[in-house]
Amino acid sequence: MNTHLDVGEVVEARKSREQALAGTAAAGRPTWVPIALLAVLVMLPAIQVFDGFNYVLHLGLYALMYIAMSSSWNILGGYTGYISLGHNVFFCIGGYFSGMILAYTGISTLLTAPFAGLAASLVGFGIGFITLRMRGPTFIISSIALLMVARILFDNWSFVGGANGVTLPQLTIDVQWAKLPYYYAMLFIAAAAVYCSFRIKHSKFGLHLRAISQDEVKAESAGINTRFYKMLAFAISAFFVGMAGAVWGEYLTYIRPNIFLIILIAANMVLMCILGGKGTVAGPIVGTIVLIAFNEFFVATMGSSEINIFGTGLVMILALLYFPNGIVGTLAQKKKLPRFLDWD
């Protein structure tokens, strides 16, 4: 009797089965939706031919920035389960890195943005080395403390202009087309962030991250180098936030601590991700669109920015109490997720 099982055969069989599964998932995936969305967004600036749509472009740019940031936050907060409320520190680092280069050498941030992203992720790697030793609520507290530390440092760092910040040179283009370069830059960053988040979710790396979020001790005993993967996730999620910050700084034509380092930006990132569904690819996009639409409505009807903070907080409470899995997550749980949103 030969009951000997060939290990190679088992591995082969498992591999082919996994490939078949991945194949059906890929066949069912509505790839055309993101592509169509991207196409529409690429064409959107064409309406500027008629002029007078600068606000639409601004809103588009703003939404794309937040899509990039919340998708990026999702890699750490959604996949890995480490909630950071100080992620705008990297937004600030990116903004200042490129902004200072622009102020001193005149090289546009559109060119230096990737390096700003790298700088942000390097800092993120270093900060993660310290703060990722903590877990749960302690990590959240340390991330808020990080934000406060950064605020004090940037407010008192005279080389970067302290609390007054630095004014940046403007591009000499006609007002009608002035927003275009930044719009396309943000579109590129957002698309890259979403694609990266998708690829990570479907990689072994993403599997490691999700294992960490479910049970870190077990993940570690299963042989995953949790420390390294957490830090890597932190660095990657800092990368796109830093890039977005670089472009945002030049777009506003000045950099100042109180445009980057305010808690509302961090809160928005977190809320958009949770509202849409953390840990899903489409979630941050849906959340961003819903929250920005809500904010615009709030500002249009109520004015004032203070009440806006209240509104954001209220939406966050309701979302956490009634939709802890977010829009995409809750629909998927009930098996009612429309096909065009099923990007995972």
Partner: protein, 292 residues
């Protein structure tokens, strides 16, 4: 040498106020395992109660302290009923609960900002600008009175926890929630009352804050990290630890403020928080096994 003692006196007086600010936070964490990020904004809300009582009726902030405490106690009960009751029922608290308190903090921040605008305010009872001199040394009357008032409230709290039946129930729930429930403690009631007391203590602290520091709604983000550093240093949920942590760090901050610069004195708390979390995450009095 005189300088040295002077700084310690100022640090300890401020530390007394910080201790009251942190006591409610640590009490709530002890019983409910909720890290309440909304605690500092409740302190500011309490400060507004005292501020308006002072402005409209000339009521001294120390006198209006019980009123601020009672008002905030009611606010605490309402917030608990609306937001935390569902969460408290589930046995396991997650990061989501922390985010929930963060959202509550944002709500109150927005409300207070809309109602009173983000301008710096301070109540100015006559003693706030006076000082008592002993030879070379002096102590500002405002900080002295605030420190004494705060230690009185803390003493009352400790007496309540040690010598009343309900305080006994609170301590039992802090030690072991399930066991307390099995012994017939109404854990739900203990949670809601403790949360109310915690927020009430925030209100009382707010009355003192209103003349010791200047305040505005958005300032609470800074205080979140400051208060957390005090609580974490003493060990989360340990009242004595929070008080000691407050006295130690406030004195340290007073030294930094004198020798390095006022801007960096708040930095002391943030850096201390990182160092404590790295070196001894369970705090001075914490039990290392409790962390997991």
């Amino acid at each position: 040498m005189a300088d040295f003692i002077q700084i310690i006196i100022l640090g300890l007086a401020l530390g007394g106020v910080y201790a009251l600010m942190a006591s409610g936070l640590t009490l709530v964490f002890g019983v409910m395992r909720i890290v309440n990020l909304a605690h500092p904004i409740m302190i500011i809300a309490g400060a507004y109660v005292s501020y308006w009582l002072f402005r409209l009726y000339g009521l001294d902030p120390i006198v209006s302290m019980p009123i601020a405490a009672i008002v905030m106690f009611c606010v605490g009960i309402i917030v608990y009923k609306l937001v935390f009751e569902r969460e408290a029922a589930s046995a396991k608290y997650s990061e989501m609960t922390v985010l929930l308190t963060f959202a509550v903090a944002m709500c109150f921040d927005g409300l207070l900002g809309t109602a009173f605008s983000n301008t710096q305010r301070i109540t100015s009872p006559s003693y706030a600008t006076e000082a008592i001199f002993f030879g070379d040394l002096f102590i500002p009357k405002g900080q002295l009175f605030a420190g004494i008032a705060s230690l009185t409230v803390i003493a009352a709290l400790v007496a309540f926890l040690q010598f009343t039946r309900f305080g006994y129930a609170i301590r039992a729930t802090t030690q072991n929630r399930d066991a307390a429930q099995l012994m017939g403690v109404n854990v739900g009631l203990v949670s809601i009352i403790t949360f109310g007391i915690g927020i009430g203590l925030a209100g009382a602290a707010g009355a003192l804050v209103s003349f010791v520091f200047s305040f505005f709604p958005a300032k609470h983000w800074e205080w979140i990290a400051i208060l957390m550093s005090l609580v974490v240093l003493g060990g989360m949920g340990k009242l004595a630890g929070a008080i000691l942590g407050a006295l130690i760090l406030a004195t340290l901050a007073a030294f930094v403020s004198t020798y390095i610069g006022t801007t960096w004195s708040t930095m002391t708390f943030f850096l201390a928080l990182f160092v404590i979390l790295l070196v001894r995450p369970q705090g001075l009095f914490g039990d290392p096994l409790e962390e997991s």
